[in-house]
Homo-oligomer: 216 residues x 2
Amino acid sequence: MTDPVAPLEDNTEAATKAAVFCAAERLFALHGFQNVSVRDITAEAGVNLASVNYHFGSKDALLFEIFRRRTAELNRERARMLHEANARHDGKPPVREILEALFAPPLRWGTTDNDRRISVQFIIRSRSEGTPEMREALTNDVSHLARFADALIAARPDLPRETVYWRLHFCLGMVHNNRFAEFDRLHVLSDGATREGDVEGLLKRMLDFAEAGFLA
Amino acid sequence: MTDPVAPLEDNTEAATKAAVFCAAERLFALHGFQNVSVRDITAEAGVNLASVNYHFGSKDALLFEIFRRRTAELNRERARMLHEANARHDGKPPVREILEALFAPPLRWGTTDNDRRISVQFIIRSRSEGTPEMREALTNDVSHLARFADALIAARPDLPRETVYWRLHFCLGMVHNNRFAEFDRLHVLSDGATREGDVEGLLKRMLDFAEAGFLA
DNA sequence: GTCTATAGATGGATAGAC
DNA sequence: GTCTATCCATCTATAGAC
């Protein structure tokens, strides 16, 4: 529950704001945006009803602020890993290490003992349930993805550019499908053979699959 | 607008019910379940407000009926293609043809001049925004997927079973990511290089990628 | 069966006391 | 800044006229 962004040591304004932020993120991630009311959030956070509008302006503005912060953190971590891969390979990393920079951050956030586990579900959900504002930001704000696309094009200069874009699209689909409900379904289908907890194992499986797909 | 399920030639009870069904499916697919009210649906269908409750019982029951019919149609078409692949290969079709039976039906429904285009978006959306009833059905009703899993296991008996299940999960992620919003984003990212309209081309790209991933 | 009118419940936002 | 009380809009569902 201790959000790294704002301390919770006393009952200052920042503490109330952080409590609302955390409660909203969790409830939205678990139950969906439209299924959570401002009353639910303030009750969960143990603050009064007016707090959301006082600190964030509106319910939608609160949603958007959570969305912006979490996506910025995710993009930063991905960019850092891509930067490190570049440094290791004189600016031309192989496909597998580019994909690892794309896959690893959201997967590692999803580790069962991780507070950020809920943030991943929030981000994935915002992709389909977000406000028009959020969806517009998702559609037009592709600068972070462009760096991955460029790296993949450099790693596979023999492929047509649009082929690389489509394969990046497929990889993103693999990432976005890692929702609680889909894991549960897979668990039922495989009769318990698939263990959700093994994040590093799943990362390796995803990299094996996607790397082979890229080298086709 | 002419739904194949019910004729619209006159103002019978069935015609009203079909009009509500079609209007609801389109509005839900375009704007999300929670963002569409019974008033929106009846206004779009040109019928009175009480029609939804009279013909379907409730808003959620209407949702569930659309969901059940469309998923049943999709599963039937996939099963038919898998059956044909089995017939062509003495009951042991190769990975690529199994995956084609999984990918082709929803993709071909998505052709721009197809009335079923909207049905695919509805099904994809129900996966993340559905009612608890729908999500329970999605989680526990895996018999149609089990046939694909079994076929893939038979095609790749050298792989551990759980590896096949995970790779099937990855393939489903590729399918579920084919939403309008994601196509738009990819269009922006690739600066227009990816054309959404070429369904058969996209099917080939998906099969190339996933087949290679399976043969890793 | 179809439609109008309305009940009954809920939610977002805000005024105003402290 | 915090909190209570409340306004007002919107929604689902239904009763009852025709």
